[in-house]
């Protein structure tokens, strides 16, 4: 009886692990999609209102969820207080501080930080191109994640179940 119960628990645990990993993959895709949404909002607001970055971030912070809200609000404060010699430093530091909980892959984090190097520096036309370039790259990354996700989710779910069964067999 104990063996049966133990086996069931092991299989349940590994299956849950597999399912959690699959959910995490989906969650990661949602994070990238939300970042895209935030960047689109920033781009739209900058183009429409032509306002300085602090005003743009301030307005958008009201329309996004956490942790993006805190991230944008913190940037508003830092920009208004002119804490750094260049905006890129503020952008990079705030990403590290407030978006660390997103656990972005280094590629995605670097791409997002690169955007800060150009924000605010260029004239309207150049900045529109730069934003579009980042959004295109992000789109590609999203596509990559999306493409691999279906098979990865299926594999991880099954791997969880099979791994559990394998462990039970080994232990018995």
């Amino acid at each position: 009886m104990q063996r049966v119960l133990g086996s069931l628990l092991i299989i349940t645990a590994t299956t849950c692990g597999g399912l959690l990993y699959a959910a995490e993959l989906k969650n990661y895709l949602e994070k990238l999609l939300y970042i895209r949404h935030v960047i689109y909002l920033i781009q739209g607001e900058m183009e429409y209102t032509n306002a300085p970055l602090s005003e743009v971030f301030g307005k958008i912070s009201m329309r996004v969820k956490e942790p993006y809200r805190t991230w944008l609000k913190a940037m508003v404060q830092e920009v208004e207080e002119r804490r750094e010699q260049g905006f890129a430093k503020i952008w990079n530091r705030s990403i590290d501080k407030y978006l660390c909980e997103l656990h972005l892959k280094s590629t995605h984090s670097i791409q997002l930080k690169e955007l800060g190097t150009f924000l605010g520096q260029l004239d309207k036309e150049s900045f529109r191109h730069t934003m579009q370039m980042y959004l295109n790259r992000l789109e590609l990354e999203i596509e990559k994640v999306r493409e691999g996700m279906a098979s990865k989710r299926r594999i991880s779910s099954w791997l969880g179940v099979m791994g559990g069964i394998f462990l039970v067999v080994v232990l018995l």
Binding site: M46, N50, A51, P52, L53, S54, E55, V79, E80, R82, Q85, G86, F87, I90, L119, G120, Q121, L122, D123, K124, F127
Partner: protein, 318 residues
């Protein structure tokens, strides 16, 4: 505007090293008129109407670096140069408090028109001065039956025309012995009159004043007439053909005009192509000519529509 507020407004837009030099000087920011940063040249300022090289007390002067100019531009533009493209085309940006930062550098021209300024090499920060009550002496001359006359302020740069208009707007809007308080519309193309921040005027413009901030003057005047029905319209530094036509339109709509123009005398203003025509047709009822022989705000003369001088003596408005 109190001295501390003014000090913080100015210091916050300067590169940290330049900021330190100014802080060490222990200046009274009320008397600071200009700060000039030129790459490779000493840091200079105009203080109490006198040019000084900084630091004043030390032999070794502070030479402005390219990095300091870049940093200052970052602070002036709130790290958002794109947002000030239109202002940069005209060669200046207005910062919080209505202070003006003029810039020079490499001009990018597209189809014969200035598109932008790159590689900024010089910055001249000119302080805005709000002197409450500075227009009191001229009000009796530019009003009739407690109503303001169409008035043109003629002045070369740095003579205080913006300061004078700002106070005139406030007095006309609030009303006093000489003028009955009335609705004033201000088209503040360069945010100098109101010094607006997030759309709210930081300077005192009176309780019946509506400000169109960062709006081109000609369009703004027409927008105000249609939307806010002002009794008086005030604009600073008119110059283009469109501005003059809009002024004429506003006058025909029954609005009283308060405007200023860059010029040294009545004669010079009359020679200006379209404005001169307006003067010859006696559209303005009063002309206030300013000068800066000893200090800003000196009134050279006040004239009526026929060009007759209403007050002969030179006196200081501020």
């Amino acid at each position: 505007m109190d001295a501390e507020k003014r000090k913080s407004q100015i210091l916050q837009v300067l590169a940290k090293s330049v900021r330190k030099v100014l802080e060490d000087e222990r200046l009274d920011f009320t008397y600071l008129q200009e700060i000039r940063l030129r790459i490779g040249q000493p840091l200079r300022m105009i203080y109490r109407n006198e040019e000084k090289t900084l630091p004043v007390t030390k032999k070794e002067k502070c030479i402005v670096t390219k990095e300091e100019v870049r940093e200052t531009m970052e602070y002036i533009s709130h790290y958002s140069l794109y947002a000030y493209e239109n202002e940069l085309k005209q060669g200046f940006l207005t910062i919080e408090g209505g202070h003006r930062a003029g810039v020079t550098g490499k001009v990018i021209v597209e189809q014969g028109k200035v598109k932008n300024i790159q590689y900024i090499s010089s910055i001249n920060i000119r302080m805005s001065h709000e002197i409450l009550g500075c227009s009191e002496k001229i009000l009796p001359y530019i009003t009739k039956n407690r109503q303001v006359c169409h008035t043109l302020i003629i002045s070369p740069p740095r003579c205080g025309k913006t300061t004078l208009i700002r106070d005139l707007v406030r007095q006309i809007s609030d009303g006093n012995t000489y003028v009955k308080g009335c609705t004033v519309g201000v088209v503040d193309e360069r945010s100098e009159l109101g010094g607006c921040y997030l759309g709210v005027a930081q300077n005192h413009l009176g309780s019946r004043t509506d400000v169109l901030d960062c709006c081109p003057k000609a369009e703004g005047m027409i927008m105000l007439i249609r939307s806010m029905a002002p009794q008086v319209i005030a604009v600073d530094e008119i110059g283009t053909q469109e501005d003059i036509h809009a002024i004429e339109y506003a006058m025909q709509c029954g609005c009283k005009m308060i405007a200023s123009v860059h010029s040294t005398s009545m004669e010079e203003a009359k020679k200006k192509p379209i404005l001169g025509e307006l003067i010859r047709r006696k559209r303005f009822e009063r002309y206030v000519v300013l000068q800066n022989e000893e200090k800003p705000g000196e009134i050279q003369g006040i004239y009526d529509e026929r060009g007759s001088m209403l007050c002969k003596e030179c006196w200081e408005a501020f």
